[in-house]
């Protein structure tokens, strides 16, 4: 679905922000966080048609929803994460829970359930994970057995246990993945069905406003029309199909939570006077704790937006891209929150300031929807195929694109990005020649390099184009950020790539294939750029 116009989207975000301002002051969230309490009344209001109706975003227009596009969802998710990641997760679970239906449901099923979710404001849960099956869903143990009546399949009896299900204890409707005779399949299970129960609400490190619980299914009968798609065996494909998109939402969570912490730090740094000047004027502070995080977050924003636009334009799959977005944004968000605690010193370590809570909350984004280690693996696998298929040309080609961009616009770090991509191509080729991908660690590191190199390219490209509504910085700052990110990518891939290859291979000529001198020379100007970013952050997030 294409996204809506910027004005409508802006109004929705404003309504959401205003709702948070009015109803979710920090003291309220802090209290719920301490009590490990799911704010049912908040969710009810957020689903209320005349207040917000946030769940309608995911419901297509023909079923009474709004049918938002990916870009819209990214923006809303970022904003939800700024409010509270637990509440955001609860909303997200409904989004996620409707996905199997959206991807695999029959027309009748969609019409029936989508309309019902929209109209009756159902909280939905997505129940795939099991004690022994996380990202490795093939180990699924929950079984769905046929119930035969008059010689025909009348329904299923589902038995098994689900674990860590968001909204597990509070949802009205559950999309449950179970192994049917024909293979893994999705079933719609309603609250109150006989034999179906939720376990206790988990006592979690963070997102404590989100209800998380295990599910017990003991011979639960579901009628056959609750088998999504009316056909067995499509469960894993359906689960895979939406990853490009669902991981983008988690990416937006990392982005929103990270910025929310960092903004607090930027504002604090202007007010905290130390040795007669504010912390925000001290490079040792800003260039260590603030600037790199702002750069990483904005780089991941550029990447998320690029992928959101491609999905809105109709591209499908994009699983590697979804993984890169999730990986880079959630790592950036987690680090930003961590450094924000440090930036606030003792205050950051107390619960009087929200950064400590954000840090606990944002950690989940590195874990759910596939841990970031699974992301590294996914990214590596996706691009390794490309590397082999193109005989090593994949990143060489991308590097040439960046060199061309540098010719058009020398201010966006495209040259450094090209160097990052060329170096990446060389490292990958060297890994192939020396069969180094037998080392799992190296493959995961390649996932990391790929993520950085590709993000730098997208950032440079977007920093050169007319920039989007979400960017709070002027062109000068936005481009300075792109340069900083591209330089760091090139340097990291060169240094760490050489170290990995030389450390694992018997012998390698990799160092001679990397243009280290040029990578070093493009580092020039980094101090000035960091100064620019530090100054602009102060202006954009001015302490009052």
């Amino acid at each position: 679905m294409p996204s809506m116009d910027a004005v409508s989207r802006g109004l929705m975000l404003e309504s959401l922000r205003n709702y948070a301002r009015r109803r979710l002051p920090y003291d309220f969230l802090r209290e719920k966080d301490r009590n490990n309490e799911f704010p049912a009344e908040v969710l009810a209001e957020m689903y209320d048609f005349s207040t917000l109706g946030v769940h309608l975003l995911l419901i297509p227009k023909e079923y009474g929803g709004i049918g938002a596009g990916t870009y819209d969802i990214y923006r809303v998710c970022e904003e939800l994460a700024r409010m509270d990641l637990g509440i955001a997760t609860s909303v997200f679970a409904t989004f996620l829970g409707t996905d199997p239906l959206k991807v695999g449901g029959t027309e009748e099923q969609k019409a029936k359930w989508m309309s019902k979710i929209a109209r009756e404001k159902l909280l939905v849960a997505y129940a795939a994970t099991e004690p022994d099956a996380g990202s490795d869903l093939v180990n699924l143990k929950t079984r769905a057995e046929h119930v035969v009546k008059n010689g025909e399949i009348d329904g299923y009896r589902i038995t098994g246990n689900k674990q860590w299900i968001s909204n597990g204890g509070v949802a009205d409707l559950y999309a449950v993945l179970a192994l049917a005779p024909g293979g893994p399949s999705w079933f719609l299970v309603e609250k109150g069905m006989k034999g179906f129960s939720a376990n206790k609400h988990e006592d979690k490190h963070g997102i404590r406003l989100s209800n998380t619980a295990g599910l017990s299914l003991d011979n639960v009968f579901v009628p056959k029309e609750n088998l999504i798609g009316m056909e067995e065996g499509n469960g894993l494909t359906e689960a895979q199909a939406v990853f490009g998109y669902t991981r983008l939402m988690v990416a937006a969570f990392g982005l929103g939570a990270g910025w929310s912490a960092l903004e607090t730090a930027v504002k604090y740094s202007q007010q905290r006077i130390q040795a007669s000047s504010p912390l925000s004027e001290k490079q040792g502070y800003t260039h260590k704790l603030i600037v790199p995080n702002a750069v990483n977050l904005e780089a991941s924003r550029a990447y998320i937006e690029e992928i959101a636009e491609r999905l809105d334009a109709g591209e499908r799959g994009l699983q590697t891209e979804g993984a890169i977005a999730k990986y880079s944004a959630t790592e950036a968000g987690n680090k930003a929150a961590e450094d924000s605690i440090q930036a606030l010193g003792g205050y950051g370590y107390t619960r009087d300031f929200p950064v400590e809570k954000i840090k606990r909350d944002v950690k989940i984004t590195c874990i759910y929807e596939g841990t970031n280690e699974i992301m590294e693996m996914t990214i590596y696998r996706g691009r390794w195929q490309e590397h082999l298929k193109t005989r090593g040309e994949y990143y060489i080609l991308k590097a040439s694109e960046m060199e061309a961009l540098h010719g058009e616009n020398p201010d966006v770090g495209a040259r450094a990005s090209a160097l990052a991509l060329r170096t990446l191509a060389a490292v990958m080729e060297e890994c192939r020649l020396n069969k180094l991908t037998r080392h799992q660690y190296i493959t995961f590191k390649l996932g990391n390099f790929i993520s950085m190199a590709e993000t730098s390219a997208v950032f440079a490209k977007r920093a050169s184009a007319a920039y989007s509504e979400s960017v709070k910085f002027d062109t000068e700052t936005w481009q300075a950020m792109s340069r900083i990110y591209a330089r760091a990518s090139a340097l990291k891939i060169a240094v760490e790539g050489v170290s990995l290859v030389l450390g694992a291979a018997a012998e390698s000529s990799l160092p001679s294939k990397i243009n280290l001198a040029e990578i070093q020379s493009v580092q020039s100007g980094i101090m000035k750029d960091m100064d620019t970013v530090a100054r602009k952050l102060k202006e954009v997030f001015k302490a009052r």
């Binding site: 007010q271 006077i273 007669s276 009052r544």
Partner: protein, 400 residues
């Protein structure tokens, strides 16, 4: 220029609408005579929109005939029995207008619309007016936008002042823009400084939400109109001069008053409730952190015999009611003593209190702009100071 189009149906509704008897019916058509001041009062009276006033090209107008500084004289309307008093802000404007007139070498005049003259030329003259343009009519006893704007526009057309100052009161803010719109004149609201620059009125005011100052000129229209809030300008000491009285007879046509006031209620006007009447103000801002902490200021204010004020931020955060808001967007004050607690000092706040005699500012941030207007400054957490200050004041007043 004014013209009556051919579509005039001869209904003669425009005739009584004119305050100057400048419209008469000739045959079956309205004719405008030379008494017309282009005030525009007849335009809405015409049911077929046959009367059209076209104004000259704004850029190429000749302003040589426009001379003198005018001040609109506003009267108190407190509902008390007896003759209405001239509002103090009028005297503030005269004092300021005097300086402008002197610099330009022109006359200063006050415009008085009243039921009856009560030696206004004496009081207004004492505060600087050379002349008083007075129109008497029983219709003037209750302010009405349409009547006042038509009459004043007519006076402007006739006597052509180059500068015209209005108080930025509820009345002034209702009247001035209506007149400006009627005569195509530049109007600058809530000026905090007035001066002459190359023969033009330079009007200074906070702009863009009050964090920055702007100088504004109206080079291509006359009069140059400005409103000024009460307490922004200082009143000069009175002299024993009397102004020359120029009486203007104006007929107020029937039906000109379109807004019927059914009831007037005086509320919250007692000086005990009014922040702009307080001699001592203890004011708090965002730095007071919470409503509870803000309330500590009450004790200090009571001890000093003053009142508590608040910045816009403090009011927005619900620490204090809007009626106590000090600043351009609230009330402008000029007390003897102003203690600013945890107020960083946005321009719009500063212009609303900087004429206070003594300003003491307490703020954590040494760069806070409040210090730029403060006579005494304290860089500290306001919460650490206030308690001690209350104790010290009690000790000085020998209160246990």
């Amino acid at each position: 220029m004014i013209e009556v189009l051919d579509k005039c149906i001869g209904c003669s509704k425009c005739v009584p609408a004119c305050p100057f008897n400048a419209v008469s019916m000739v045959g079956k058509k309205a004719v405008i005579n030379e008494a017309c001041t282009l005030c525009g009062a007849c335009v809405p009276a015409c049911p077929v929109k046959a009367i059209v006033i076209t104004r000259e090209d704004p850029v190429h107008r000749d302003f040589s005939a426009f001379k003198g500084v005018w001040v609109f004289a506003e009267f108190e309307d407190t509902g008390r029995k007896g003759p209405k008093k001239i509002r103090k802000v009028t005297l503030e404007l005269l004092s300021e207008g005097r300086k402008l007139a002197d610099e330009l070498g022109v006359e200063l005049a006050a415009v008085v619309l009243a039921e009856k003259n009560r030696n206004y030329e004496k009081e207004l003259g004492a505060y600087g007016a050379d002349k008083v343009y007075l129109s008497e009519n029983c219709e003037f006893s209750d302010y009405d936008t349409d009547i006042y704007s038509a009459v004043i526009a007519a006076l402007v057309s006739k006597y052509k002042p180059e500068i015209f100052l209005f108080p930025a009161t509820f009345t002034g803010r209702d009247l001035a823009p209506r007149i400006a719109s009627l005569i195509y004149a530049g109007l600058t609201a809530d000026c905090t400084g007035l001066s002459i620059k190359n023969g033009l009125l330079k009007q200074s005011r906070p702009a863009f939400g009050g964090n920055i100052m702007a100088d504004i000129l109206s080079p291509n229209s006359r009069p140059q109109m400005a409103t000024v809030r009460p307490n922004v300008m200082k009143v000069s000491p009175p002299s024993d001069k009397t102004a020359r009285l120029v009486k203007e007879n104006i007929n107020i046509p029937e039906g000109m008053r379109r807004v019927k006031v059914l009831e007037k209620k005086v509320a919250g006007y007692e000086s005990a409730d009014r922040i702009d009447c307080a001699d001592i103000i203890v004011s708090g801002g965002r730095g007071m952190k919470s409503r509870e902490k803000f309330n500590v200021l009450e004790e200090l204010a009571t001890l000093l015999g003053g009142m508590v004020g608040a910045s816009r931020a403090a009011v927005d955060m619900g620490f204090k009611e809007k009626s106590r808001q000090v600043g351009q967007s609230g009330t402008t004050v000029s007390p003897k003593l102003y203690i600013a607690c945890g107020i960083s000092g946005a321009v719009q706040h500063l212009v609303g209190m900087k004429t206070s005699d003594i300003i003491i500012a307490i703020n954590k941030d040494p760069n806070a702009s409040i210090f730029s207007v403060a006579k005494y400054g304290v860089v500290a957490d306001v919460h650490e100071i206030i308690g001690k200050l209350i104790d010290a004041v009690k000790k000085a007043k020998k209160i246990k």
